[in-house]
């Protein structure tokens, strides 16, 4: 992380930025040699792409989201962050969809292997939501980044050094959500809508009808130092209280909710008939795993040039929804759609706890929005939950 001369010492001042202030923030990050990446509109959706300045943000737009449905429409205010999350997540940058693992060269019967030395770009992510900070913390555990001390369950023996380097090179400007999307359920997952940790700066957008202002707080020394450089006015008590009210209102308007106790519920219902019910609707298209900000599975690809002398080994995103994913000689383990859907959902909500000491679901809702047939992970969990409740009430407990 950056170190800047912070002559103010320990007392930090929460700032109030206007639209120009936000532009000054991105300019300052660019001046530090960072590629600034944030939400902007491309092909009818909000994606995470490089920004020239704050002007590239999706001002005035909100996203209508529901099962299998996404649409950008004008919002009530000219706000920069009134939208929620789109089809992409920050893993696109932290954990690219295709990476070269190494290159090999044949030399007679021998061959040699070299790892391409790719420099890690210095980045700044703007507009990172609470659920996305949670997703990064989850992937930190998966890839053995020891940022979160006290971790006991599922400590990885190895560290993905590429991921760790890209993570360390990213400056994070989080945004507290001022509006919950139709498929959001972070409140029930305990991950949002307020960014609690894992950022350098957090913004809360206040946009009561007029032009937006942003209450800006540091989350790291580097973040506070950058804010001090911006020449922005201190936020007033009223601004700070208004920012709290914004987050409280968002929390009260979640699109969806996950049933409580879902970890044990699923672990105890691996053979529930609901898996077949959902399989009859699921297309095994893998969209849900591609848009999921914590899904980490990959496969490898070997490419050879025409001479056969040079090879490359690639690692690329993969999904447990493919039949090949579990292939072993003689046939795949997960032949049926039911077992593949079960793998996805039990992994996210249950087995992840055993593996990494945390849920693999952050409640971002992407899998619901981007499922072509609108399958809803919260509804599928609720169906099993309600069924177990019914049988429990009847005294024939399935053990829910």
């Amino acid at each position: 992380m950056d170190s800047n001369d912070n002559s103010n010492g320990t007392r930090h001042t929460v700032r109030r930025l206007d639209r120009n202030g936000l532009d000054a923030l991105t300019a300052a990050l660019q001046a530090d040699g960072r590629m600034v990446i944030g939400p902007r509109v491309r092909d009818g959706a909000i994606v995470y792409d490089p920004l020239d300045g704050a002007g590239d943000l999706p001002w005035g737009l909100i996203d209508e989201q529901d099962g299998g449905r996404y649409r950008l429409v004008p919002g009530p205010d000219n706000a920069a962050f009134a939208h929620v999350v789109g089809p992409q997540s920050w893993k696109k940058y932290l954990y690219p969809a295709r990476q070269t693992l190494w290159r090999g060269r044949r030399d007679g019967p021998r061959f040699s292997v070299e790892v391409p030395a790719e420099p890690t770009p210095r980045t700044a992510f703007i507009g990172v939501r609470a659920c996305e900070l949670a997703a990064m913390a989850v992937q930190d555990r998966v890839f053995g980044v020891r940022a979160h001390s006290g971790q006991s369950v599922g400590q990885q023996q190895y560290t993905d050094t590429g991921y760790a380097a890209r993570r360390a090179a990213a400056f994070i400007v989080a945004v507290n959500c001022s509006r919950a999307g139709g498929t959001c359920f972070c409140a029930s997952m305990g991950t949002g809508p307020k960014a609690e940790s894992g950022y350098d700066i957090v913004l809360t957008e206040l946009s009561d009808g007029g032009e937006s202002v942003f209450v800006a707080e540091g989350g790291s020394e580097a973040g506070w130092a950058l804010l001090d450089r911006l020449d922005a006015v201190p936020a007033g008590d009223g601004d700070i209280r208004a920012a709290e009210r914004v987050v409280d209102a968002t929390r009260a308007h979640m699109g969806r909710a996950m049933v409580p106790g879902v970890n044990r519920l699923l672990a105890e219902n691996l053979e529930h008939p609901q898996w077949d019910a959902v399989a009859s609707r699921c297309l095994s298209c893998a969209n849900c795993t591609m848009v999921c900000p914590t899904c980490f599975c990959t496969t490898v690809e070997d490419t050879t040039d025409l001479t056969g002398e040079h090879v490359e080994r690639w690692r690329r995103w993969d999904s447990c929804f493919t039949v090949d994913f579990s292939y072993i000689h003689g046939g795949s383990i997960r032949q049926g759609g039911a077992s593949r859907y079960r793998q996805w959902m039990t992994h996210k909500l249950s087995h992840w706890h055993d593996q990494f000491g945390t849920s693999g679901c952050t409640g971002c809702g992407r899998c619901i929005t981007w499922c072509p047939v609108g399958i809803d992970i919260t509804e599928e969990a609720r169906a099993i939950h309600d069924d177990c409740h019914r049988t429990d009430d009847a005294g024939t407990g399935r053990g829910g």
Partner: protein, 285 residues
Amino acid sequence: MDGALLPRPAPADDPMVPRTFRIERRVAEVDGCFTLTLKATDGRPFAFQPGQFNMLYVFGVGEVAISVSGDCRDLNTLTHTIREVGTVTRAMARLRPGDVIGVRGPFGRPWPIEEAYGNDILFVTGTVGLAPLRPLIFEVLNRREHFGKVVICYGSRGTHDILYEKQLHQWRGRFDLQVHVTVHSAPSGYRGRVGSVANLVKIARFDPEHTTAYVCRSETMTRPAVQALHDRGITSDRIYVTLERNMKCGVGFCGHCQMGPSFMCKDGPVYRYDTIEDIFTVREL
């Protein structure tokens, strides 16, 4: 403790990047199997523990998980026994001494040994399953004084596909080792035993209360093997099994080897049976 004699493998620098090894010897075995003896091209030793596996890479073709089948006290020779089944293993079968292959590893949890001190030892295996078990058998024999009876129950399909037949014959000659071999079908006049490995478990002599069993069979054959052990009174907490899943990385990053809560590449491939008993019976997990 004897365990201290075994070098503990250090995590590789970058676990995704292979070291290169030269094929020293290639021995054709039964049933489409062959054994490769490898030496590191950089001359550095290779330490592993019985039950661990490597990811073996054939230049330009691909990489597969293969258990080490040699002696863990020989740090300068790496031995693998491989059955030709598909793309990568077929390409591997064509390699000859002098050719070089890539090796990543060792990965996975080994067969526990110290836990069985004081017990009788029962190995239950068949066909090529003997290969991943052989380093453990070597090590149990190396530390023979720590164990009571030691029994090998081995089964193959026919009389011509008994893996490491010479080795089995040699072990049979030891007074401190019971070796039972059975074949599934045999030509008339065959003087050996015909039938299932489960039947061998029935006749083997050991003290069920104080026996540790190591099972290395295919997943479908593991069930009847475990059943036979249960029938003889060996409880699940003294049975170790090994399982197989697709593996792309070996280090817990690719997700392919999952079985419910477990990653087979780092939590397995060796499991104490009671720790997976519940999920082992769930179909297509």
